[in-house]
């Protein structure tokens, strides 16, 4: 499924769109977990054109987080558990649903208070050359929220998927 079928675009691809007034353009801001550990920097915003809002933050993962996860992969490969890990070298970007974060305008920091460093470390990443698909989005949600109810729009191929509470809908 192409991104355009999901109405999903990077904001910088849409030259005729901008962040609405009264909302923060968080590109370039740091993102931290609940313990204030750096996850990375927000590189871009994934927006749903029909819904006219951001659905994911595109985060360039911090070098330390990548190194930590690579170390874990190597340890697991040594233990024969390599099937648990799907990502490749060079994959350095993560998506984080907008409803999972809080924005601090004063410190220009975004906090993912409900997701820990270890979860980010274990979540599959992508690289900017390859676009991610809906299956990757589902895998990310499963990784961040393993206990959340999967029934609401989880299998949807259309915008219904973004009506889940992880995207800021109650």
């Amino acid at each position: 499924m192409e991104n355009k079928d999901r109405n999903l675009y990077r904001l910088d691809e849409l030259s005729d769109y901008k962040v609405a007034p009264d909302y923060s353009d968080v590109r370039g801001w740091k993102i931290v977990d609940a313990d204030n550990r750096t996850i990375g920097t927000i590189d871009n915003l994934w927006v749903n054109k029909d819904m006219q809002r951001v659905v994911y933050l595109d985060v360039k993962a911090d070098k330390t987080l990548i190194e930590d996860s690579q170390r874990e992969v190597h340890e697991n490969i040594a233990d024969g558990n390599e099937k648990e890990f799907m990502y490749r070298d060079g994959d350095s970007h993560l998506i984080i649903p907008i409803g999972s974060v809080n924005i601090n305008k004063d410190t220009k920091t975004v906090m993912a208070s409900g997701i820990g460093y270890d979860t980010f470390r274990r979540t599959g990443r992508f690289n900017t050359q390859q676009r991610f698909d809906r299956n990757y989005e589902r895998a990310v949600l499963r990784s961040y929220y393993p206990d959340n109810d999967p029934s609401v729009g989880y299998d949807a191929d259309d915008d219904t998927f973004y009506s889940r509470k992880e995207f800021g809908n109650r």
Partner: protein, 55 residues
């Protein structure tokens, strides 16, 4: 829980057209004034009564 809305940028061309239009109006008004003032600038020849008395 954060929310970031996006909106379509307002196109710049209506402003360009408006500026051009204002420019055209201003130019037209001044040019017209100039053209209207030109006939008034024709000098009126003074004919003094002394010129006619001699005849």
């Amino acid at each position: 829980m954060a929310e970031i809305k996006i909106e379509k940028k307002k196109p710049i061309w209506p402003w360009i057209i408006a500026l051009l239009l204002i420019g055209a109006i201003v130019y037209y008004v001044f040019l017209r004034e100039d053209q209207m003032q030109n006939p008034n600038r024709t000098e009126i020849e003074n004919v003094t009564p002394a010129d006619t008395i001699g005849n």
